[in-house]
Amino acid sequence: MRFTGRFALGVAVIGVPLVLALLGPLFAGDPGPRATSFTLGDGHWLGTDFVGRDVWQQVLHGGRPVVVTALAATALAYAVALPLGLLSALTHRRWLEELLMRPLDVLLAVPSLLLILLVASVFEPGAVGLALLVAAVNIPDAARIVRAAAAEAAARPAVEALRMQGETWWRMAVGYVGRATLRTLAADAGVRLTGVLYLVATAAFLGVGVAPDAADWAVMVDRNRIGLAVQPWAVVVPALLIIALTTGSNLLFDAALDQRGTAASSHRSTDKERRP
């Protein structure tokens, strides 16, 4: 089956960076003494970085901040966007809908990276601050998508039938509308996670939310750039891991959605035996 094939590919591509990021610090062990900057060999099988630290050690340590920040930011964005979107889709009060959605439109108009840099120049946020910031810039889009998808489902007779049954808001909003929009939202979450990873990595690359010599894949790419010609692994390995993380998450969401799609409707893969 080609769907399981795609699924396996997605798992394999995302698995490597995810396992490294989450379990890496456990196996990193003792950092050991520093060596000369940008050298290869000599017990360091990926060489040393710009201050002479072991690159493999850094790779093992550097994934967790990126992955955890991205996942936390995505989760946080949805935690705010879901109730906002569902509430404004299910209400019949126009003013409430305006009140919930209009302020977000203002935020939507500001470029996200600009906003992050602006806030960072004033507050100097840490990792938590970065996650909050990235979540905040993602809330407007996410809320709009939730509302648009939910508004379509909320207009179906099924919701009116639930109202006639005197059903609770929770059952209508989460039990029916949420369930019916799950496919759209899962697709959006996949794209959004990629965008958030990109944003987190870019912010770290620009030095927002992390120390300049922190063990962080994005920081590694930035700091070791100068030695790219001498010792490429210090840039290439963390860069590849970030790419694998974003590509893998997209592949995985695609494959998961395809499988749901085939489960829901009969699939069109089988060919007609003959066309008279």
């Binding site: 019949h92 179906r156 007779p157 099924a158 009116e160 039938a161 639930l162 109202r163 006639m164 049954q165 005197g166 059903e167 609770t168 039990g175 029916y176 369930r179 019916a180 009969s266 699939h267 069109r268 089988t270 007609k272 035996e273 003959r274 066309r275 008279p276």
Partner: protein, 520 residues
């Protein structure tokens, strides 16, 4: 078939067609000869294989199907298709003229470049005229959503005619249409046939089939059980199934007199319902000066599509808030929106939706969804509610084995019974049924009408309001109210309205129905 007909060459032919999905035959050994200028009708209950056979003429099969047999279509394979929901095949972003131009352009390639434009235009106008669309100039500038359902259907027909299709497959063209629209569709299809084009009609609307078809094939479970000209079929059906199908046409009228000295359960006073109409403010959808529903009676609200009958029912149910005037339940005013109605008021007025499939949650078993009514509106605990739901469903002809399935695995008729059960569990005083039989085949429809009649008999306190465009369904009622263009034009006891209608609109509605039924 007579000797003379056998001499005419068929434009399309199906021989011994068998379509199988997962080892189950949907169509089994069907033979069909489509003759030019004649209307061939395939009739049968939903799921009998009509549509699969019709689509086979287009070379379309359900996905994953195993097909054996022989399908011959005219040279070039030009077969037109008019689907049940024409809006789905018209690009909503393009005007009618653009949609038709795309096809017409391919027909004028042989002409010199500067003559093409005029030739295209002429082709367009001729196709529209052939499809019985008057006022073509204005229509060409509109978008599909600005057309009525009937007009959309005719635009699709015009597309097929432009292509030069010699066979046109019309899939349930009259389903859900009122009698006046139906008779127009009959005229339009017979005009197409008169031009020497073969029409294949897939329908469960027997009145239309009788009025239109030259040849009828009765299908059941994928097989043709009987075929012949409609006159012979109607007078002397040979197969048991044909007899049942034709017999199902006439539902038994309600002979019992309406309950005497009954008290008004629902009383509508000076109600005017509005629709918000974009930026242009509001339009009045329906105006009802006075309407009552007595306890234990069945009231039918009859009218064409767009006459405001659904809006009226939605106002009563609290689903349409934008109205003025009063709705009294037992003399006490009901809040306009169901959000403001308390539990007893909600339970007292229940609503059954036209499209049962859309009114159920796809992801939960039907039984669970039905049982929730008892939990929410009568405060029953989950177990009692489920037992009650099961009892009600079984009484309406839906055994546990079916009820525990998800909606996707039930048929339209079964779902409509489940929807009725869901409303009945609230023990309503008034049950509003919005076109619940339209879109069902005759056998299923009669089954559902029998259920309704049974409800009226068994429960003295239950009042039914039937919203319908179908006068056969309205015969079930004690009283009939007729709506036209949002105005209540006539109301009175059913026998009186049906036999001696007073308002001109009611008269024309009766005449068209009678004309269709007589098969002329």
């Amino acid at each position: 078939m007579t000797q003379e007909l056998n001499r005419v060459d068929p434009v399309a032919q199906i021989a011994n067609l068998r379509v199988e999905i997962d080892g189950r035959a949907i169509v089994d050994g069907v033979n069909l000869r489509v003759l030019p200028g004649r209307v061939t009708a395939l009739v049968g209950a939903s799921g009998s294989g009509k549509t699969t056979t019709g689509l086979a003429l287009l070379g379309e099969y359900p996905s994953g199907a195993r097909v054996t047999g022989d399908v011959r279509v005219p040279e070039g394979g030009l077969v037109g298709y008019v689907p049940q929901h024409p809006a789905a095949v018209l690009n909503p972003a393009r005007r009618v003229c653009a949609l038709l131009n795309d096809i017409a352009r391919t027909q004028v390639r042989h002409l010199p470049r500067r003559e093409r434009r005029a030739a295209t235009r002429e082709l367009l106008l001729r196709a529209l005229a052939d499809a019985q669309l008057p006022d073509a100039e204005a229509l060409l500038r509109r978008f599909p959503h600005q057309l009525s359902g009937g007009q959309q259907q005719r635009v699709v027909l015009a597309q097929a005619l432009l292509l030069g299709a010699r066979v046109i497959v019309a899939d349930e063209p009259t389903t859900g249409q009122d009698a006046l629209t139906k008779s127009r569709i009959v005229d339009q299809l017979s005009a197409v046939a008169a031009k020497g084009i073969a029409v294949v009609l897939l329908s469960h609307d027997l009145d239309v089939v009788r009025a239109l078809a030259d040849d009828v094939l009765v299908m059941r479970a994928g097989q043709v059980v009987e075929s012949g000209p409609p006159e012979r079929l109607w007078l002397a059906p040979r197969h048991e199934w044909t007899r049942r199908l034709l017999d199902a046409r006439a539902p038994g009228p309600q002979h019992e007199p309406p309950p005497i000295a009954a008290q008004a359960v629902l009383h509508v006073r000076d109600m005017t319902a509005r629709h918000r109409d974009g930026d242009r403010g509001t339009t009045v959808a329906v105006r009802v000066p006075e309407l009552t529903v007595q306890a234990g009676e069945c009231l039918a609200v009859v009218g064409r599509s767009g006459s405001g009958k659904t809006t009226l029912a939605r106002c009563l149910a609290g689903l349409h808030r934008d109205h003025s005037g009063e709705i009294l339940l037992d003399g006490r005013p009901l809040p306009h929106s169901l959000r403001q109605r308390d539990r007893d008021q909600l339970a007292a007025v229940q609503y059954v939706f036209q499209d049962a499939r859309a009114a159920f949650d796809d992801y939960r078993p039907v039984l669970d969804q039905v049982a929730r009514t008892a939990v929410r509106l009568r405060g029953a605990d989950a177990e009692t509610a489920e037992a009650e739901a099961l009892a009600t469903l079984t009484r309406l002809g839906l055994p546990e084995e079916l009820a525990s399935r998800r909606p996707a695995r039930l048929s339209g008729g079964e779902l409509q019974r489940a929807a009725l059960a869901r409303a009945l569990l609230a023990q309503p005083r008034v049950l509003l049924c919005d076109e619940i039989t339209s879109g069902l085949d005759t056998v299923t429809r009669r089954g559902l009408l029998d259920v309704l009649a049974g409800l009226l008999r068994d429960r003295d306190d239950l009042s039914l309001v039937l919203i319908t465009h179908d006068l056969d369904t309205a015969r079930l009622a004690h009283r009939i109210a007729v709506l036209d263009a949002g105005e209540l034009v006539e109301q009175g006891p059913a026998p009186r309205v049906l036999t001696e209608p007073r308002h001109p609109f009611t008269v024309s509605l009766m005449e068209t129905t009678a004309r269709l039924a007589a098969g002329t």
